[in-house]
Symmetry: C2
Subunit: 374 residues, 2 copies
């Protein structure tokens, strides 16, 4: 069942939406997730999807991701005060060129591409004044609007890369948008972003691809390819065309990252003859890895979630599920998020926003702390 | 609570154990898991642990992993008809040399080291006749006997690497052992094993370490190190000394794997200027990755688990938890293993083997399909 627009009248205490008309140009996984975030957090009064694919548009509308759909840019765009370019990277620049003539000069324009310097230069060339290049660092092995969900962007790092031409007011509006969507904005210049993602994203992809190619050349290897190898090659399982576009677009920064990577590999290979030094390298690697920030997100869509804090009293899981079962609320999914000596938390996946509201009420009545996400 | 030895008398229909006295030399994660597997599957009448660390021995005995403990080799070893060398790799050869004088010539001897050619040669030199080198491809980020569990080895690929000196009867006994522990034996020569694990295990570790070192040299990177980077560097989070020993021991094969890896990386880098060829490479990489066999195992200890098949009727999760809650069974952990249109499966983590038995009875009575693991 698609998410429903909130049916209750907006209570008078709520602030006005950040935006009146938001346009999502490209209704795929990320564009759709932005739309769902805008909707569930009441950030836009009206959400319009525009896409070259009529099928994608119809699916987005059927799923309740957007309010209206448009097959092509036009005068209607002047009503937009937020435009999110969320098409695949290879068509971002032509898409921006198509939209530019119709954009309201006051509209905040942003994109979600994974390489930033080229698109930043392109939008400047097109004269789009309030453009703030952006890169939400979120994704899923499963693409398309059907897998879009507001939660995909929650807690994600969302890089904003203003140039020297970006008005500070636009940057501040973009930052508010990102924060209201539940993501964590990080601001840096486009070139710095591209260098960093070359190392943390594009180089790992290429290394992962090189590893899978070793297996492709000797099928005996797949027999022994256990957990560690699967972990290392997971990124090679993403959409080949999107991955290819990403690394080609950022090839200059990627070549530098490759050079640094080879230097590290060579050093480690030399240390195979110097076990003490290699042990120090292994210890330093573990320290670094263990200190990486954790952003825990499931790859499964989570439309109608309820997070319940559970205490250390016996059988709290049973108490929660019994209370909901007795009330006829259907639990579709359940996950223990954390278990500690003094309690923990679990996530319940429910069917509808109404179920989330009902379940939250029941559990609060039974003394549980609950955070809902319809 | 430690796993309890089966308290009910063995029913007369059960076959005699495969082994009378099994000796686990090195009671850590893997040795302990072998011991628990031998115990839970009734494969040995008596399990003796020997270890240089008295603390490890005491912990193993307190946890019920072994029946008896010994601080040093001696005449008592002659009673063993199975000896599993499960010490860290760097001490395997000296350990074997200490044990060799006391071994019964009929005893099956095997090891669990991750590099095979050297230890195979060493045991031949020591004159241990019934030695079958082995490598269970299983592990956990958490070491030590406290994390040992029989399930760690279930469904794991367990490579056996007989040499030209290995008696076929010994190989066949080793294979039976592996199969009875629930693992999947794969037989190949030691050198072939070492070449293959250099590529699927030791090279990925080194690549992962090189990636973490890039982050260690520029802390801005950790800000953007999202899911993909975490996946690729997970293996760098293992025990540094064990990882170091493993790659140093296998450095010759690893150097060859590194050479092949660099060739693939160079080719991919060149293809950054040939996007069509790079797309083909990305597609081939995805095909290969997606066809890797899946061995799904959690890294968390699962001592007292129950897997329940659930149908597509409404609120089956609630029905399961209500039935157990009503009977006072405390569910400590719950995980949905699979959800499909036509149903799914979930895992319940319980406190004691008795809880598993009780819960299985209740759920079977309520019409659920249940697989228990106490």
């Amino acid at each position: 069942m698609p998410p429903q627009p909130p049916s209750a009248p907006t209570p008078p205490s709520l602030p006005a939406p950040l935006f009146d008309t938001a346009v999502i140009a490209g209704v795929g996984l990320i564009g759709g997730s932005v739309a769902l975030g805008l909707r569930s957090r009441l950030l836009a009064r009206r959400i319009v999807g525009v896409d070259a694919s009529l099928d994608a548009l119809r699916e987005a509308q059927a799923l309740g991701v957007v309010d209206e759909i448009r097959a092509a840019p036009g005068e209607w765009l002047r009503e937009a005060d937020l435009v999110v370019l969320a098409a695949p990277m290879r068509v971002l620049a032509p898409l921006a060129a198509d939209l530019a003539p119709y954009l309201n000069p006051q509209a905040l324009v942003t994109d979600v591409g994974s390489v930033k310097a080229t698109i930043a230069a392109e939008l400047h060339r097109l004269g789009v004044r309030n453009f703030v290049p952006g890169h939400p660092m979120a994704g899923s092995e499963r693409g398309g609007v059907a897998h879009a969900r507001a939660a995909l962007l929650e807690n994600a790092v969302w890089v904003l890369t203003p140039t020297e031409h970006t008005p500070l007011t636009a940057l501040s509006r973009a930052r508010a948008l990102v924060e209201h969507l539940g993501a964590a904005p990080v601001v840096m210049p486009p070139g710095a972003h591209d260098d960093l993602v070359a190392t943390v994203s594009h180089l790992p992809y290429l290394a992962s691809l090189a590893l899978t190619h070793l297996v492709a050349r000797d099928e005996r290897l797949s027999l022994l390819a256990a957990g560690g190898f699967r972990d290392l090659t997971r990124v090679a399982s993403g959409d080949p065309r999107m991955s290819r576009d990403m690394v080609v677009e950022n090839r200059e920064a990627l070549r530098l990252a490759l050079r640094r990577f080879r230097t590290q590999l060579d050093r480690l290979e030399a240390e195979l003859d110097d076990p003490e030094e290699l042990l120090a390298a292994a210890q330093e690697g573990k320290r670094t890895r263990d200190s990486l920030p954790v952003v825990k997100r499931s790859l499964l869509p989570r439309r109608h979630d309820l997070v319940v804090t559970i205490s250390d009293r016996p059988n709290q899981i049973g108490a929660v599920t019994q209370a909901l079962g007795a009330a006829g609320v259907n639990i579709k999914d359940i996950e223990v998020l954390a278990i500690r000596e003094d309690g923990g938390a679990m996530r319940l996946g429910l069917e509808t926003p109404e179920d989330v509201q009902e379940a939250a009420g029941i559990l609060r009545g039974a003394g549980f702390d609950v955070v809902g996400r319809a």
